[in-house]
């Protein structure tokens, strides 16, 4: 029980991740799948940010009156990069969806299956 309490961030992240995964797997609409993917991304980013948290930590801003303990700055940098990557993937996916819509006339996977 104690483990669960101390790792509550883990649990939240996994839960959100699973929500996204559920959408990705179950929804037939490509756009919704992309949304699911975005939710999963959010879960992971949130988790990484929490991983950088230190008990009673302050933002790691160096200045004349900066007193530790600092929260680890690295996760934030990582998540920024991760968001860039996520955005680029989303962009590419949306572009592809537009193309699929234009060429196949639908964005519903079950309908696309019939088109084939």
């Amino acid at each position: 029980m104690n483990v669960l309490l101390t790792h509550v961030d883990y649990i939240a992240a996994v839960a959100i991740f699973l929500v996204g995964l559920y959408i990705l797997l179950v929804k037939q609409n490509l756009l919704k799948k992309i949304l699911g993917l975005n939710i999963m991304e959010t879960a992971v980013f949130a988790f990484i940010v929490t991983a950088g948290m230190t008990d009673n930590g302050v933002p790691p801003l160096l200045g004349p009156d900066a007193v530790g303990p600092f929260a680890s700055p690295l996760p934030h940098a990582l998540v920024l990069t991760g968001i860039v990557v996520a955005v680029s993937i989303t962009a590419l996916a949306l572009a592809l969806i537009v193309r699929v819509k234009r060429e196949c006339g639908s964005v519903e996977l079950n309908e696309l299956g019939k088109v084939e």
Binding site: T81, R99, V100
Partner: protein, 494 residues
């Protein structure tokens, strides 16, 4: 510092920067884009060869980007697995040569510079993935080559390409996220992103649950990338509908990233005292064995040549995972060599198939009857590569199968050896079927009769790759000797 000292950075930067420049510089000049891409990939190849020479002279070495020492800075690390970049650069170079005449036929003219850009960026991502010593950069480079791969699949004309690309993207993105999640977990446990560093600290981490979770997430994530059964479902669609050179790149190079990711994972977690890797390895063996048989049987019933080749990739990935799962020195080194050999063979297969399909306009196997008489060299190359992929000695495919089979025996798994052999036999069955169709059956389709041999640029790439897929078999011993030191950390777990 001289250029040579920065080689490790250059081998990543040259293709990425070169690729990024192409759309900017050559929007109007597709031909020049080809030349530029070719030059930068040749440069990459040259750099990677010089890196290998240094590796042989000095042993594994690291490079701190921007001068920050590890574990703080972004570390690049070059070991014997990293040497695969030379092969990947070489294959990319040949794929580019092949693309010169092929791509204008399948890609709209406006997108041609984009195509070359993506190929180069893909190479850069692969190289980065191989040489990075840092977990987060591992993810970033993985995304670089993944995103470029999604886009490359979408390059071709027609509705199938877009759909296949988006399917590939969805699964690929999920797997990337799993990997990222795992990286986050490891960071949370150890507070470092340097792989070597993290490996050392994992043992000290108190709780086993997050570690196991990280291991599971990494494994599943890389399994998707590597298309290991049962997570291979995206592969046949993507590889079959992409343009042939892209299929070659995907099958030969990109899926190998997943395999190398698994190797890195196993290496990272192998020092962990309380976490047993044995069940995971058994799982890999089982999945690998099923993949071998499933891929081979599925390939047998395909009528589309490129789809068949895609399933052959599933089989071969299965072989590699059996070898890794066994984990003995013999089997693991065999699997490592098979990564390279399969890359060469599969590139030869897809390019040769691409040439046949391009010249005849047909892609169903039965329609290709008699094409061997019209396109003897391409068909011969395809034949040699098929024999190689089936593991007929002394071709390149044999090396891995022999070592893996021997490893299975050494660890007391004779049935597994049987699977290795039966899989080879099944592959040979469809290989023979294709050879038979090409050479020994009268033409069925009128287009076959009017087909002509592929142009020299395509032929050069195909023949070189086919010859390599034969000759690498004769170089089995030196290659095994080369990977042996790199394999050692793996074998401790076996």
């Amino acid at each position: 510092m001289s250029a040579a000292a920065h080689g490790l950075a250059l081998v990543v930067l040259v293709p990425i920067v070169g690729g990024a420049l192409i759309p900017a510089l050559f929007r109007r000049f597709p031909t020049a884009a080809w030349g530029f891409a070719l030059a930068s990939s040749a440069l990459t190849l040259a750099i990677s060869i010089s890196l290998i020479r240094r590796l042989l002279a000095e042993g594994p070495f690291s490079y701190a980007a921007g001068g920050w020492p590890p574990p703080y800075g972004v570390a690049l690390h070059f070991d014997r697995f990293g040497a695969a970049i030379a092969v990947f650069s070489m294959i990319t170079l040949l794929v580019l040569i092949f693309s010169r005449r092929y791509i204008p036929a399948v890609v709209p003219i406006a997108r041609i510079p984009l195509y070359y850009a993506l190929v180069m960026i893909n190479l850069g991502g692969m190289n980065g993935f191989l040489v990075t010593g840092d977990l987060f950069n591992l993810f970033v480079f993985m995304e670089v080559f993944s995103v470029s791969a999604y886009a490359l699949v979408a390059m071709a004309r027609g509705p199938q390409a877009g759909l296949a690309a988006i399917k590939y993207l969805l699964l690929g993105a999920v797997s990337s996220l799993l990997v990222l999640f795992a990286i986050g977990l490891i960071f949370a446990q150890t507070g470092t992103l340097n792989m070597a560093d993290a490996a050392g600290r994992l043992d000290a981490a108190a709780s086993i649950v997050p570690t196991a979770l990280a291991l599971g997430a990494l494994t599943i994530g890389f399994m998707v990338k590597a298309a290991l059964f049962p997570l291979h479902v995206w592969l046949p669609d993507a590889h079959a509908s992409a343009p042939a050179p892209v299929s070659a790149l995907l099958s030969a190079v990109v899926v190998k990233a997943g395999v190398i990711g698994i190797i890195r994972t196993l290496q990272t977690f192998s020092d962990h005292g309380s976490l047993q890797l044995m069940p995971l390895q058994s799982l890999l063996i089982w999945l690998g064995a099923i993949a071998v048989l499933w891929g081979a049987v599925a390939a047998l019933v395909q009528s589309d040549l490129k789809r068949l080749l895609a399933y052959s990739t599933v089989t071969n990935i299965g072989y590699i995972f059996i070898g890794l799962g066994i984990g003995s020195a013999t089997a693991a080194s065999g699997a490592a060599v098979h990564i390279i050999n399969h890359a060469v063979i599969k590139a030869a297969l897809f390019l040769a198939a691409g040439a046949l399909i391009h010249q005849s306009g047909l892609r169903h196997i039965d329609d290709l009857r008699g094409l061997g008489e019209r396109m003897p060299l391409s068909a011969l190359a395809l034949g040699v590569a098929l024999l190689a992929v089936a593991g007929v000695p002394p071709t390149a495919g044999f090396v891995g199968k022999w070592q893996i089979g021997l490893g299975a025996l050494e660890t007391g798994r004779p049935l597994l050896m049987g699977v290795v052999i039966v899989g080879g036999l099944l592959v040979l069955t469809y290989g023979v079927r294709i050879i038979n169709t090409l050479f020994f059956r009268p033409p069925l389709h009128v287009r076959v009769v009017t087909s002509r041999e592929a142009p020299p640029s395509m032929l050069a790439a195909i023949l070189l790759l086919a010859a390599s897929s034969f000759l690498l078999g004769l170089a089995g011993k030196p290659m095994l000797d080369f990977v042996a030191p790199a394999i050692l950390p793996l074998t401790d777990t076996g």
